[in-house]
């Protein structure tokens, strides 16, 4: 199968979730190829934006998609969208491979974990809805809030450096992030 690896036009979020599920359920290589064509260039772009050179980013993007193949059966569309799930795989790879650090994470099966009072009852449809609304809010965020949120995700800088780069007090960066999170939080509370 010839691999066309240019980014292709918009796949819907449902399409993407279905592709992951087909990989997880049936080891579907056609589904994997489609997912690869969509996400590998984005993972590569993500890593280069964080400072990796093209060669390293290329290798790590391939590793990330291989990880998607290996973990596809664990994807739960009721917990997160495919894009969020793949973002977290890329993020963890970045921490491990680019920064050579551990990412501390809580363990949902830890007996010392404090459980939630009411378990969230979500399904894939609800999750898709949430994803849509998050994207809408992101598009509608005031520019100054959108910039700091995106820089936090896609540049290898702590907030103090973001502040320096934008020539703003650190407190301003923090309050813009707080305002942005507040908008998203309102959305979550409407559910």
């Amino acid at each position: 199968m010839r691999g066309g690896t240019e980014p292709v036009g918009q796949l819907t979020r449902t399409d993407l979730a279905e592709l992951v599920e087909r990989i997880g359920r049936a080891r579907d290589k056609n589904a994997f190829a489609e997912l690869f064509r969509y996400y590998a260039p984005r993972v590569k772009g993500y890593l280069m934006g964080l400072g990796a050179d093209a060669h390293v980013a290329e290798e790590l993007a391939q590793e990330a998609l291989l990880m998607v193949w290996r973990k596809a059966s664990q994807f739960d569309a009721s917990k997160a969208s495919a894009g969020t799930w793949i973002f977290t795989i890329a993020r963890n790879l970045r921490i491990d491979a680019l920064r050579k650090e551990r990412r501390p994470e809580f363990d949902p099966h830890d007996p010392a974990l404090m459980p939630a009072d009411e378990p969230k009852l979500d399904d894939a449809v609800a999750q898709a809805q949430v994803g849509r609304r998050i994207r809408d809010i992101l598009k509608q965020l005031p520019k100054d809030q959108a910039i700091v949120v995106k820089m936090s995700f896609f540049q290898d800088k702590p907030h103090s450096e973001i502040a320096a780069e934008l020539d703003l007090p650190l407190g301003t960066v923090k309050s813009r992030i707080r305002l942005a999170m507040g908008r998203f939080r309102e959305l979550m509370e409407d559910r």
Binding site: M1, G3, G4, T5, E6, P7, K29, F32, A33, F36, A40, P41, R42, K44, G45, A57, E58, A61, Q62, L66, W69, R70, K71, Q74, A80, S81, G83, T84, F87, T88, R91, R94, R102, R103, P104, E105, F106, H109, D110, P111, A112, L113, P115, A116, I134, R135, V149, K150, S152, F153, P158, H159, K174, I177, R178, M181, G182, F184, R185, M188
Partner: protein, 225 residues
């Protein structure tokens, strides 16, 4: 059920979700998450924001052979262990009393608490150093006897304190199990542990503490507080 009242700030939670936060601060956030369902939801939301923004990233074309190269590896790739499955067991509690320590912190301590090699910092405080980086970032566990005042100190950078047992007072606020207090830059403060039981805290700094009292400033290079 005691619910945390003091949480990491939004920018810290976002930085944890985005991967921008360093390991030491991440240890505080993740251990707080184990004790705070509300912040677990916040982080899940922040990750969803990341996922949404991720789709808007400028793609960077892969090499023409990339897909074929990865496809050739699929058959041998197997499955990755499930991070959340019950087969991957949380760190056992190696000491009685270690039940107050959730993951991921418990893993950093090998499930120990009393049997850790505690170092005495004066009569009222014991310390166990978990992380100590050349640049000055540290993560340590502190055990403070009840009703004691910590030396007055300021910070050059950020400091995050997560209470695991007992409580401490700082100004008008009380910080109990699960609570996080963050202090930045110029803040000078003098926390006091609660009167009823020892206070066990995870304390993370990204720069060495600056002691403001004269005696402490003289002693600091020797005590390395």
């Amino acid at each position: 059920m005691m619910v945390a009242k003091h949480h990491p700030s939004d920018d810290v939670l976002l930085a944890y979700a985005s991967g921008a936060l360093r390991e030491e601060a991440g240890l505080v956030v993740a251990t707080h998450l184990a004790l705070c369902p509300r912040c677990r939801e916040e982080v899940a939301m922040a990750e969803a924001i990341g996922g949404a923004a991720f789709d808007e990233i400028q793609p960077s074309s892969m090499q023409p052979s990339a897909l074929d190269s990865v496809m050739a590896r699929l058959d041998d790739a197997g499955s990755a262990p499930d991070d959340t499955s019950r087969d991957r067991r949380p760190t056992p509690f190696a000491d009685p009393g270690a039940e107050v320590i959730p993951e991921p912190l418990r893993g950093y301590l090998d499930g120990r608490l009393d049997s850790l090699p505690w170092r005495r910092l004066g009569p009222d405080v014991r310390e166990f150093s978990i992380i100590s980086r050349p640049g000055g970032a540290t993560a340590r566990l502190l055990r403070i006897a009840p009703g004691k005042t910590l030396p007055e100190h300021g910070h050059r950078g950020d400091e995050h304190t997560l209470v695991l047992k007992g409580c401490f007072f700082d100004g008008d606020e009380v910080f109990s199990r699960g609570d996080v207090e963050s202090a930045h830059g110029e803040a000078v403060h003098q926390p006091v542990s609660g009167p009823d039981e020892e206070c066990i805290c995870l304390v993370v700094t990204d720069a060495p503490l600056r002691f403001t009292g004269l005696m402490e400033r003289i002693l600091q290079p020797f005590i390395r507080i």
